[in-house]
Amino acid sequence: MVDYQKFEYDVLVIGAGGAGLRAAIEASAGGASVGMICKCLLGKAHTVMAEGGIAAALGNVDDRDNWKVHFSDTMRGGQYVNNWRMAEIHAKEAPERVRELEAWGAVFDRTKDGRILQRNFGGHKYPRLVHVGDRTGLEMLRTLQDYGIHQGIEVHMECTVIRLLKDSDGSRVCGVVVYDREKGRFQVFQSKAVILATGGIGQAYEITSNSWDCTGDGHSLAYEAGAELIDMEFIQFHPTGMVWPPSVKGILVTEGVRGEGGILLNSEGRRFMFDEIPDNYKHQTADNPEEGWRYTQGDKEARRPPELLTRDHTARCIVREIKEGRGSPHGGVYLDIAWIKEKIANSEEHIKRKLPSMYHQFKQLAGIDITKEPMEVGPTTHYIMGGIHVDADSQMSNVPGLFACGECAAGINGANRLGGNSLSDLLVLGKRAGEYAAKFAGENSLDGLDEAQIEAAAEMALEPFGRNDDPQKGAENPYSIQSDLQKLMQHNVGIVRKEGEMQHALEELERLGERAGRVHVAGNREFNPGWHTALDLTHLLTISEAIARSALDRKESRGAHFREDFPEKNTDFGQCNHITVKGPDGKMRVHSKPIQEMPEELKAVIKEMG
C-alpha cells in the first residue's frame, strides 16, 4: 500500500498563475473551501513574464472603443475558428475584471486625466492594453496573490499533480494524486470539482519564451482523464524573441516595443513589414511610415503601422526575411526603438520609462543599449491557442467536475491570439471557472476514492528509480530525451509545416516514448529535478503527439498554423475545430467538429465593425 497524506476541498485549483488565482478567489467567494496546488512557489508562475498588458475595451484613451470592437478584433485575429460565445463574454466582461484589479490594489499607468492608461498592440483597433510599463504580468499576478492570500485559500506550494482521479464508475473527476517536491512524498486531494489552470506547453520546443514548468501538464492530465482537447495545432510563435547570445535565445521581447513605435528592419535597412499586408487588414493598416508613427503617438486619424499586424503574420514575415538571406548576423532581424530619437526629444528617458525591463534585459544579458542601437529578434514559441475543450459559459470540460481556464483551456483565441487577450482571458474566464466550479461543488458531494487508481499512479511515478541504471544496457537520461523532443518539435512541427516532416515527428515521438520507458532516475525522492523531468516527459510526449496529429489533419494554412504544402485558407477547414481524444484502445484520435453557427446579432456586430 502506498503511503499518502490526504486533503479534502470543495474546489481544487491546479496552478497558481493568473487564471488559477482568479479562479480560486472566485470559488472562495462562492462559499467553497478551496485548495490550490502549484508546481513552484506562489507568485513565480509564468504570468509574471507577461509584459505588454491586459486587453479591455475601457475606452479611456480612445472613446470609440467598446466590447463590439474588441469582439470583432478577437474574431478577426483568430480567423473565425474561435468560440464566438467565449470571445463575446471576454470582450464584454474584461473591463469589469480590470477595474476589480484596481480595487484590489493594482497600480496601473495613468492617463493625463488620472484614469487607467491604455496602449496600442497588434491586431487591436484602438489603444486597449491596460499596463504598467512592460511588467504588467507581474503587477497582475502580485495583485491577485496579495488579495488571494486573505481569501481563505489553502496553498500547497511545490507540489506536482501526477494524475486526475475518477470516481468508481469513471464518469466524474473526484480528486488528484500529487507528489511534493521537498520530500517526494505522495498526497491525495479529494474534491468535488477540479479546475485546471496549468498554463502552456512551450517546453515542447527548443526555442521558447516559456518557463521550465510550461510542460502541458493540464492538457495531458485532462486528456488521460477522458477530456477533449481542441485545435492543438494552433501554436503561437511570438515574432520577437531574443536571438543572441545563444543562452538567452527565445526570451521574450514585448510587442510593446512596437506599440511604442519600434520598427522591424532587415539587413538592408528596409522596413519589410510594408512589403506584405494581408487583404483583410489592408484597410486598417498604414501605407507609409509617417502615418504609422502618428498612430503610435495617438493620432486617431492614422492607421496602425504594419509592425502591429497579428503575431502569426509578423512571425512569418520575419522567417521569410531570414530564409531569403536578409537576416541579421545571428539569424534574426532588427527591431529598432532607438530611431524614435528623430521624433522625440529625450527619447532615451522615454524608452527607459516605457520599456524598463526590455532596457534592463538587453543591457544585462546581451550588452546592448536599446536606447542607442537596434535589437536582434526572431520568432519564439510563446502560447498555445488550443487546449482543453470547455463550455464557454461555465468553463467545464466534457468530464463532469473538471474545469479549465487560462492557457490550458481553449476556444477564445481561435487560430491566433491577439497580444493582451491572454491576461484578460484568464481574468474573465478564470473568474467564471471559479464561480461555476463552486456552484458544481455545491450541487455535488465528495465521491469515494478508488485506491487502485492511487496505487497505480504512485507506482508509475516511482518506476524510474527502480530501472536499470546502466547506459550501456539502454538506461536513458531524462534530460537528453527532453532535449531531443524539443529539437524534434522545433524542426518538424514549427512555424512552417509540411506533411512529411510531421509524419517523421510522429514516428520519432514513438521512439522517444520507448526511450522514456527506459529512463532511470538517480538519487532519492527529495527535491530531485531529474525525477521531475522524467515525470514531465509523459506530458510532453502526449501534447507533442496531439499537436502533430492535429496539425497533420488541418490541410490548410490559417492563423498560426502554416502549411507549406497547403499555403491557402480552405473554407471547409474554416468551419471546423479539431478534437483530440484518447480512444477506447488507448490510442490518440483526432476528428473534426463543425463550428456552431454564430447568432445573427454577433454576425451583425462583425459586419458593423468592418
Binding site: 487607467i116 496579495d146 486573505h150 521550465w212 543572441w244 538519487g523 532519492n524 527529495e526 531529474g530
Partner: protein, 247 residues
C-alpha cells in the same frame, strides 16, 4: 573566454553539506544558471535548484555566487573571474532544503500577517478612481519587487541575528511602503511597523539596496520614510503633548 570553467557547488541537506566541483563547457553569453543546467543534465541529475523564467523576472534562482547574493539567470560568466572555480551556494538567511534550494516559506507567512490593501470608496459613480501618475511613481517602484528574497538574505538582522520572529525584513518593509504610500489605501499600519514588524531593528546599512536586482532604493525610498512616519507618530514630543492634552 576559456572553453571550460569550474564550478564549486554546495551540495547536500541540513544534515551534511560539502562543495562538489564540476567542469563544464562555456559558450558566449552564458549565465551561471546555464552552467548549473548543463551540470544537471550531464553530471548531477539530482542537483536541486529553483528557476522559472530565466529572464530576471520571477526571482526564483537566487543564490550566492562567489559569495555575492545574485540571480543566477542574470549573472553572466563573462563578468566573473574564470581562472578559479566559481562558487555557487544557496542563500543563507533561511533553512536549507537541499543543494541550492532553501525553505523560504517564512516569507509567505510574514506577508499574510501584514494588513492588506483597503481602498477608499471609488471617486466616481462608475466605481473607478482618479489617480495621478506622479502620485504612483514611488509605489510603482516598490511594486517592481520580484520577491527573490536576496534583500532578506543579506539583511544582518535576519542572517546574523536570526530575528525572524521580531522583524519582517526589507522585502516586507518595501511591501508595507507600497501599501502605505498607495494613494487609495486607508489602512494604518504604523503601530504594527513599530511593534510586530520591528522596523526599529533596521539600522540602515543599505546592504539590501545593494543586492536588489530590480534596483529598488529599498532603504532610501521605502524604509527611511516609514521610519520617519513611525517617529512622527510615536516619538514627536509636540505631538505627544498634544495627544496628552486631548485626553
Amino acid at each position: 573566454m576559456s572553453d571550460k570553467a569550474s564550478f564549486k557547488i554546495l551540495r547536500g541537506t541540513k544534515q551534511e553539506v560539502k562543495f562538489e566541483q564540476y567542469e563544464t563547457p562555456v559558450s558566449e553569453g552564458m549565465v551561471v544558471l546555464d552552467a548549473v543546467h548543463q551540470i544537471q543534465a550531464e553530471q548531477a541529475p539530482d542537483l536541486a535548484c529553483r528557476w522559472n523564467c530565466k529572464a530576471g523576472k520571477c526571482g526564483s534562482c537566487s543564490a550566492e555566487i562567489n559569495g555575492i547574493p545574485r540571480l543566477m539567470c542574470m549573472t553572466r560568466l563573462a563578468d566573473l573571474p574564470l581562472h578559479k572555480p566559481v562558487s555557487v551556494e544557496p542563500i543563507k538567511a533561511f533553512p536549507l532544503i537541499k543543494d541550492l534550494a532553501t525553505d523560504v516559506s517564512w516569507n509567505f507567512h510574514v506577508k499574510k500577517k501584514i494588513k492588506p490593501f483597503k481602498p477608499r470608496p471609488p471617486d466616481t459613480a462608475d466605481g473607478t478612481w482618479r489617480i495621478w501618475q506622479e502620485d504612483i511613481d514611488r509605489v510603482q517602484e516598490f511594486r517592481k519587487c520580484i520577491e527573490c528574497f536576496l534583500c532578506q538574505d543579506v539583511c544582518h538582522v535576519l542572517r546574523e541575528h536570526q530575528k525572524h520572529d521580531e522583524f519582517i525584513g526589507p522585502r516586507f518593509l518595501v511591501h508595507v511602503a507600497g501599501l502605505e504610500m498607495h494613494p487609495l489605501d486607508t489602512e494604518d499600519r504604523l503601530e504594527e511597523l513599530k511593534k510586530a514588524y520591528g522596523i526599529g531593528f533596521c539600522n540602515i546599512t543599505k546592504c539590501c539596496t545593494t543586492v536588489c536586482p530590480e534596483e529598488i532604493a529599498i532603504t532610501d525610498n521605502a524604509i527611511i520614510p516609514l521610519k520617519e512616519r513611525v517617529v512622527d507618530q510615536f516619538y514627536d514630543p509636540l505631538a505627544m503633548l498634544l495627544r496628552k492634552l486631548k485626553k
